[in-house]
Symmetry: C2
Subunit: 331 residues, 2 copies
């Protein structure tokens, strides 16, 4: 009986493969390019075959796996944290950058080469507490989050076609990683639950913690030391540091993903694949490239896509459904 | 026919489990504590059960998975690199610390709070080249390496009982990670081949690389920026940064592993396990604790082992065999 059950488990994947693994993708060149690539690198005996060990796929998060408009999720978290904490913490309320943030004055936050204002409010909300405390504050926030326009919760703001793509790649022996400018500690709270990607496969912006024994218990205090921004040229750097191998597939949506796409697809010893999600659907989501809402500028990477043969996905034309959990609010 | 083959693959693990998974371990409290822990956390329905997702096991490398005497392997690599390069590179040959290293004057290298001399020769041999070039230099070195006393190659210097332990834990759903003071880029060249641990499960000392396009090809140049030492209090910091979850089992051999063992075993929401490999076998390997050859001091962690119930393994008494590949030189 046990053997039959096991046999069944082994055979199910063969049946599943007969179905369309990407049902939310319209038929067309974008979908076809994905399926062709996966078939190519998984065909044993072919010269294009890539061993499962090296089937590394990297995904940007904001604007690629979920919505980044009107502001990236992590900024929404920071603003909500400040709203909750400022009335109770006079010192926080007096801070000029906190005031700018609460007034929605993003220009002030982003002024200067290093966006000092933004870094300041990130430091205020992302350091000085233990990793467990930070984790809990993100968990609490997730429970209350609703998107201002679509009235959806956090999992409901992920893209259904990309969720299918993650599963399709994993079913074909790929290891899927997030490589995002977002904070690693922030994303790791939900990455497994929302994307099936465990924390150790999440590469993001990060800084060091400090190990301390408090009341005989070991804790890690979040600091801003060795702050590393996993964006633009930082993405291949983060890939090397955390993954240690060159990916064969990269998925992004903005110029911030260009270096990662280049690192993946140029001079790779294996066949490789690059894909850009182009936000073209103002009705069902947002339409932007050169003038994004707050992040996600896409100009040079769209040019590079032509040179390097990256697939460009039009959300409007290539995706049947946008958000995970159907088109109704997911509560 | 295919189904029968698949069925066979599925059933083999059940037969294998009936055999002793740790044949190189003598029967005794150390071996028993390992088996008891694994049984406890894998017994479904028990209150001690830990889901496979959270079965994270972390291993120190030098002195825990392989021999660290008379000098750690990476230092042997550095010395061999300098020996090869100094005759051809006058600037290198003139460097005072390179001269100290080539004369075996380790006291000079280790002088000062931050061991400036050691850092200098590490910088000279571990930065300024592309990651691919560094990778190749380690590969070349491995081919020529022989241990000065045991005349064994690199895989032959790993400990057979620890190899069995790695496989035993993985067969029981654990994810095994290396968390070592050694350089991540150094260890990742051989971690999968030697230990079955892929590069993205290797946490080590590291610094940032720099992304550049050279002749239209993307490369990463190794630098010493953001140098992070994954040792002592740095080990829990590295675990959080790279793994993002608290381990339930930790294996080390020196005071440098104490913080990692504490972080793993104190105030953990799951049952946890700590183990220290004590070098007690001067004949078959080396005997040291308070006065190690060059690294691996074990004093405070041995005291802490009593307080926190960590298993202490005596290599002389608990291990039937020391090195992998039997007791003959592995070439």
């Amino acid at each position: 009986m046990k053997s039959i059950a096991l046999l069944f488990l082994v055979l199910v994947p063969s049946f599943a493969l007969a179905q369309d693994p990407l049902p939310s993708w319209n038929e067309g060149p974008a979908k076809q390019s994905i399926v062709d690539f996966v078939k190519k690198v998984t065909s044993e005996g072919s010269t294009d075959f890539v061993p499962a060990y090296d089937r590394i796929a990297v995904f940007d998060n904001d604007g690629t796996l979920w919505c980044e408009a009107p502001v990236p999720m992590q900024l929404a978290f920071v603003l909500d944290e400040l709203k909750t904490r400022a009335p109770q913490e006079p010192k926080l309320a007096e801070n000029k950058m906190v005031q700018a943030a609460l007034q929605g004055n993003f220009a002030k936050l982003l002024a200067g080469k290093h966006h000092d204002g933004l870094l300041e409010i990130i430091a205020l909300t992302h350091s000085g507490m233990t990793t467990d405390q930070f984790d809990q504050s993100v968990r609490n926030w997730i429970k209350t989050y609703k998107h201002p326009r679509f009235d959806r919760n956090l999992p409901g703001m992920t893209y259904q076609p990309m969720q299918e793509l993650l599963r399709y790649l994993r079913a074909n022996g790929f290891q899927t990683f997030i490589v995002s400018g977002g904070g690693a500690d922030f994303m790791r709270v939900f990455s497994h639950r929302i994307y099936g990607i465990p924390p150790n496969q999440v590469v993001g912006s990060c800084s060091l913690t400090k190990f301390e024994m408090i009341d005989g218990k070991p804790v890690l205090i979040k600091t801003m030391d060795h702050f590393f921004v996993d964006d633009k040229e930082g993405k291949p750097v983060g890939i090397h540091e955390f993954i240690g191998r060159r990916p064969i597939a990269a998925f992004g949506n903005s110029d911030g993903d260009q270096a990662m796409l280049e690192y993946t697809t140029i001079d790779n010893r294996y066949p490789s694949f690059g894909l850009i999600v182009h936000h073209t659907d103002a009705e069902r989501e947002y339409a932007y490239d050169s003038h994004p809402p707050s992040s996600g500028k896409l100009v040079t990477a769209l040019e590079a896509a032509k040179n390097y043969g990256w697939t460009v996905v039009s959300m409007k034309d290539d995706w049947k459904t946008i958000f995970a959990g159907g088109n109704k609010p997911a509560n």
